[in-house]
Subunit: 139 residues, 2 copies
């Protein structure tokens, strides 16, 4: 049977707190590369006492133990994703949405490479349909 979130936490020595659980569940349910702020607001809807610091703590714990992936571009807020398979990213010029792109290996560059990351930019399918530009709606 499937591994539960609780199991995953235990397997990595992470305590299963409600806040942490919520963050993980949120990321598994919303594959939209949420920012810490997005998640903070979502958590707050359920538990108004939850704090930003806790969201950041949770995200770091999850990221450190390989349950979520983190990535950031150009001085914008970091984004988190429950997809931990190797992949690259496509960022929409218009709405800023981030989409996953299949993994490909880097070319050799004559030195040892520990990690590789590729970012594509262009206009996403949604935005190229509509002629008008509009901001991505908040989660």
């Amino acid at each position: 049977m499937k591994e539960t979130i609780g199991d995953a936490f235990r397997a990595r020595g992470l305590r299963c707190t409600p806040q942490r659980f919520f963050v993980m569940e949120y990321l598994m349910r919303h594959h939209v590369h949420a920012t810490a702020e997005d998640i903070f607001h979502a958590v707050n809807r359920t538990d108004p006492r939850a704090s930003r610091a806790t969201v950041y703590n949770a995200l770091h714990a999850l990221s450190r133990t390989g349950l979520v992936s983190e990535f950031a571009v150009n001085g914008t807020a970091a984004r988190f994703d429950a997809n931990v398979d190797r992949h690259h990213h496509f960022i929409c010029d218009r709405c800023g949405a981030v989409e996953d792109v299949g993994w490909f290996d880097p070319p050799t560059i004559g030195r040892r490479v520990r990690d590789f990351e590729a970012i594509f930019r262009g206009v996403c399918a949604g935005c190229s349909e509509l002629k008008t530009t509009r901001k991505r709606s908040k989660l």
Copy 2:
């Protein structure tokens, strides 16, 4: 004969101010992917009245008109570079230094791509020589 910085500015409709000139010259002389803060300190050594805002203004003007390239990683300060030929980046895990890597075209991913950027990570030559880790010295 060679195009001067002043010519380059004029050709793009940028006024040639001492601050702007200094920033451009600095980037042409130091191929170290300087941060705004690095440049601010350098400017300040020459002209103690220069302000951060002006450095940012200058960098944006230069970047907008294609005289310098800008790139940022993972919540660290943006870095600027007078090398505007297409290239990718290698970032040292230990000292954080950024080195240029030759350009290669992206694989096709089934949609129109306007821009592509690749980031390699690993330990740079300098750091793998020394056994000990040490911070990159400030400029």
